[in-house]
């Protein structure tokens, strides 16, 4: 139940997936909103603080998630050969874009060598700083890669819907129900 099998996802992978999805969309909306706040808005400093804190937690969770993904079995892909290839490439691109968004965001706030306070609980140290024009370049990468991630995530959700309603695959159900991982296929 906790672990993945060839048939389906275990609880840990399922939780990683949906909590990440919720957090990623939430951070995107928060980021979109907060960058339009005026200097005198009460949220002008507070919203980025929350965005940075959650972003760092998501980054750490994503490292753990990728570790889990690599040491655990991956359920078999469904669909024809082309669809399976597209799914494989799409998933790698989702992970790559997610990492790009996370790392570029981290590099904005740490560009001068100052760490990022995560809700005041601990500081994520600046590991890479002082690159030429780091904050501005990382900011541009952060913005465009976040938009690309949202578009790809929409495609990802659309593909899941096609698997579920058109082909009647277990693709979407097994990302919800860990019991499917216990079934033989």
């Amino acid at each position: 139940m906790w672990r993945n099998t060839q048939s389906g996802w275990g609880i840990i992978s399922i939780l990683f997936h949906w909590l990440s999805a919720l957090t990623i969309v939430g951070l995107f909306v928060l980021g979109w909103w907060m960058t339009d706040l005026g200097y005198y808005d009460a949220w002008y400093n507070q919203a980025p603080w929350v965005h940075r804190s959650i972003g760092i937690l998501l980054m750490l969770a994503t490292f753990a998630r990728l570790g889990w993904r690599l040491i655990q079995p991956t359920p078999h892909a469904e669909g024809n050969r082309l669809e399976r290839l597209a799914a494989h490439v799409g998933h790698i691109a989702l992970y790559a874009l997610l990492l790009l968004v996370l790392v570029s965001g981290y590099l904005i706030s740490t560009a001068n060598g100052r760490g990022i306070s995560v809700f005041g609980w601990f500081d994520m140290p600046a590991l890479l700083h002082g690159l030429p024009n780091q904050a501005s370049l990382a900011g541009d990468v952060h913005w465009y890669s976040a938009i690309a991630l949202m578009l790809l995530a929409a495609g990802h959700a659309g593909a899941a819907c096609i698997h579920h309603w058109r082909y009647r695959h277990t693709t979407l159900r097994r990302m919800v129900n860990p019991k499917i991982s216990q079934q033989r296929h």
């Binding site: 904005i108 706030s109 001068n112 024009n133 904050a135 501005s136 900011g139």
Partner: protein, 194 residues
């Protein structure tokens, strides 16, 4: 005999040269040893000041104590090298809200005149290009010192500061209090005589 005379003349000349403080010369700003700073100071909502520094720039000047009217200076600043000790603020300052550094990556100053106003003091007039807008500015400057340095060069050092009204350079500060509409630009450097 002839050789001896020449030698003596050369020795005499060598002895005289160091005594003379005044020599026409081109100077290169000491970037290698980084004895040069371009800084600014701007009010923050009436509470305090934000201090910032441009870390990458270069320039040269002409300074001859015997011919001060011929003094001139040129500098070019890489706007993206701005540092206010806060990465996100730097990014904001460099954005199109303020300096728009991606569109206007350099700021330049080229002097057009110099007027001596007293011993070791004067006013440099010149064209400052910032945010793509060129304005004539005046900057009072002080010669702080000149002479042989301990490492075999001859150097001269200056400082100067002036107030800039940001709207003169097309930077819109109307959302901010009056106190933030202008900033103090402070420059100090040593030049090494070439």
């Amino acid at each position: 005999m002839m050789k001896k005379t020449m030698f003596a003349t050369a020795m005499a000349a060598a002895a005289i040269v160091p005594l003379s403080q005044a020599q026409a010369a081109d100077y290169q700003i000491d970037i290698e040893g980084q004895h040069a700073f371009v800084q600014f100071k701007i009010n923050h909502l009436g509470f305090s000041y934000i201090l910032g520094s441009f870390e990458e720039f270069d320039g040269q000047f002409y300074y001859d104590a015997d011919d001060l009217d011929a003094s001139s200076v040129e500098m070019e600043v890489q706007v993206n090298s701005l540092n206010t000790n806060h990465a996100e603020r730097d990014r904001h300052f460099l954005s199109s809200d303020f300096l728009n550094a991606s569109e206007y990556p350099t700021a330049t100053f080229t002097s057009t005149g110099f007027e001596s106003t007293g011993e070791n003091e004067g006013v440099v007039t010149g064209e400052l290009t910032l945010h793509g807008e060129t304005q004539e500015i005046e900057m009072p400057v002080t010669l702080m010192g000149e002479g042989d340095d301990p490492w075999g060069n001859y150097r001269a050092g200056f400082e100067g500061s002036t107030m800039l009204t940001l709207s003169d350079f097309g930077i819109d500060m109307s959302d901010f209090p009056e106190a933030m509409h202008e900033l103090e630009l402070y420059v100090t450097f040593e030049g090494i005589r070439q």
